[in-house]
């Protein structure tokens, strides 16, 4: 190694806090989102504990409502949205493009501090009373709730700007910082996914920012624009909210799809069945994802006309995901498959994504959605596809890029075990919830009729299994961080461009700007 790795090139806490190195910023985001995952997970377990019995188990209804609001806000805005883009996007995207850094490194650091500020404000709002409006902030409940909706809403508003800045940075980076020879069709699929995500982040998040600002202003100062007492229409808030929050689902899942594309090609040592299919369907999802927000509102008092339009558009967005699934599976065909922890996570992802996605088509069917919407069926559906998809891909990425980031190898044996544990936990937490939804148990229920109890107990059991699985996974990686064997430059024998650098990379990634003369998945050429 001619130069020191980025981890030790500069020393001291200050060198980390003021760094503009995309890799270090990625690591700082990693710490941030892991803390958020832990907090959100704790709230999830507290919720599941309360739901063990039909009536009060150990907390009152208001506390429960605050807990599920915080669980949602923390998991969505602090964990899932920044998880893959801000951590692995930051770490890998410039390297994959053959660049020394992102286009605006200082803006990138700024994005981290905006994120931190958002976390502090939101959690501060939680300490001074906590919101109980749910992460959806539906007016007029959110504007009349006696809890601290305004600070929490403002915190999410700030988190949104962190997301916008990260997305903006990536868009410009992809356009302007590609190495020589890196044509658009040679970009790794992860880059395509992050690029599509960034478009959504930049163009959808401001609408969320605006609608949350309107809610916070109404809650704080009584300047209501959705207040029915003044002729306002609460349904319009839902339009604005879902205009962001439906595409936000793709902010979470598109990067996960990108990770999966990298994992499946690396461990099958195969070119993707259709590179263009996967790449362009990411863009397709980003675009059509903007046209389907109304399927959250089929029973909200929206017109029949809009229900029809949004219903049919929702079917189209499903197609793009189906293209990806076919391609991933097809990529395995005649590959050279090594069964590792990331690949096991790929299978967990595939299961959760395909079954969850198919239930998504089911809930997009207008008449079926009438029974399912706002019940546990929807909870189970989006936890399968969005949380399950993002979490398994996030963990796959953690294992896949762990040697890249830290230069050490984790224990494969323990990794496979914890991956299985996470998957089992996830399945037993959320599968019963599909059935609960069919039975008609509405979401956000603090107490429930007794006939729902058996499945709720099963779900709570699964949740603790899941929590244990995630803790063990992180533990395994922490042990590897200290004691894992040296990984070497390219332990997976991947042809991905990020493996062209040292593991861990040096401060400037490349000694000389690389020239790209092949695609990232040209396994038919054999390894270099």
């Amino acid at each position: 190694m001619s130069a020191e790795s980025y981890l030790v090139a500069d020393k001291g806490v200050k060198s980390w806090l003021t760094t503009t190195d995309h890799k270090r910023i990625g690591i700082m985001f990693l710490v941030g989102v892991l803390v958020a995952l832990f907090l959100g997970g704790v709230f999830a377990l507290l919720l599941r504990l309360e739901l063990l019995t039909p009536g009060r188990t150990y907390i009152d209804a208001l506390t429960y409502n605050r807990f599920f609001t915080l669980h949602g806000i923390i998991m969505i805005f602090m964990f899932m949205i920044p998880s893959i883009p801000a951590v692995f996007g930051n770490f890998c995207l410039p390297i994959m493009l053959g660049a020394k850094d992102v286009a605006f490194p200082r803006l990138n650091l700024g994005s981290f501090y905006v994120y931190s500020a958002g976390v502090v404000i939101t959690l501060g709002g939680m300490l001074i009373g906590g919101a109980d409006s749910g992460w959806t902030f539906y007016a007029p409940y959110s504007t009349t709730s006696p809890t601290a909706v305004a600070p929490v809403g403002f915190g999410v508003f700030v988190l949104g700007f962190s997301s916008i800045l990260t997305g903006l940075n990536f868009i410009v980076t992809v356009h302007t910082m590609r190495a020589k020879g890196m044509s658009w069709l040679r970009m790794p699929l992860f880059v395509w996914a992050i690029y599509a995500t960034s478009i959504i982040q930049v163009l959808a998040t401001p609408v969320l920012a605006l609608s949350l600002a309107l809610i916070a202003i109404d809650h704080g100062f009584g300047l209501g624009i959705f207040d029915p007492r003044m002729g306002g229409d609460p349904v319009l808030f839902q339009h604005l909210f879902w205009f962001y929050s439906h595409p936000a689902v793709y902010i979470m899942i598109l990067p996960a799809m990108g990770v999966i594309s990298e994992v499946v090609t690396t461990f099958a040592k195969k070119n993707p069945l259709s590179y263009k299919g996967i790449a362009f369907s990411s863009i397709g999802i980003a675009f059509v994802g903007f046209l389907t927000w109304g399927h959250h509102m089929f029973v909200a008092g929206m017109s029949i006309f809009d229900t029809g339009v949004f219903g049919v558009l929702s079917m189209f967005v499903g197609i793009f995901s189906a293209i990806k699934v076919y391609n991933w599976v097809g990529t395995l065909y005649r590959g050279h498959i090594s069964f590792t922890t990331p690949l096991l996570y790929f299978f967990a992802f595939l299961f959760l994504f395909v079954f969850g996605g198919m239930t998504g088509i089911a809930v997009a069917t207008s008449s079926l959605d009438v029974h399912w919407t706002d019940t546990y069926f929807v909870i189970a559906h989006f936890h399968f596809i969005m949380v399950g998809g993002t979490l398994t891909a996030f963990l796959a990425a953690m294992h896949y890029w762990f040697p890249k980031m830290f230069g050490r190898m984790y224990s494969e044996r323990v990794g496979l075990f914890t991956a299985a544990l996470v998957f089992m936990g996830f399945f037993f937490t959320f599968f019963p919830q599909f059935l609960l939804g069919n039975m008609g148990m509405p979401r956000r229920y603090y107490s429930y009729p007794e006939r729902f109890q058996a499945l709720n107990v099963l779900s709570t059991g699964g949740a603790f299994l899941l929590g244990m699985g995630v803790l063990l996974t992180v533990g395994n990686l922490l042990v590897a961080l200290k004691m894992g064997p040296r990984a070497g430059k390219n332990p997976w024998q991947s042809m991905g461009f990020e493996w062209l650098t040292e593991s861990p990379p040096t401060k400037h990634n490349f000694e000389a700007s690389p020239v790209i003369d092949r695609g990232p998945y040209d396994y038919h050429l054999g390894l270099d």
């Binding site: 007029p140 009349t144 006696p146 868009i171 356009h175 478009i199 163009l203 959808a204 609408v207 029915p228 007492r229 002729g231 229409d233 349904v235 319009l236 339009h239 604005l240 205009f243 675009f287 903007f290 046209l291 109304g294 008092g301 929206m302 017109s303 029949i304 006309f305 809009d306 339009v309 949004f310």
Partner: protein
Amino acid sequence: MAHETRASTYLWTWLALVVLAVATYVLSRLDLGALQVPIALLIALVKGLFVVMVFMHLLEHGATSRIFFGIAFTFILLLISLSTADVMTREQDLPVPASGALAPRG
């Protein structure tokens, strides 16, 4: 980047914008019925294009910027049209009594 827009171009653009603004004002004083809003918005759109293309140099900047701008504009149109379509196609939309009973916030 094709550089150097001449100062006279800016002046002409400004003049065109002023003329269009006056036209908007005059047309708004006439009774054009249902066409009133579309015409006003069309003129605003033309004015906007002048500003974006000449003043903001979108003509000089790369195709990428134009595409990005186009996408943003498309999404704006979608947001406005689909949410307004909901309101316009609801079956019945009567004002409703009895919201006064809303409890004052504590």
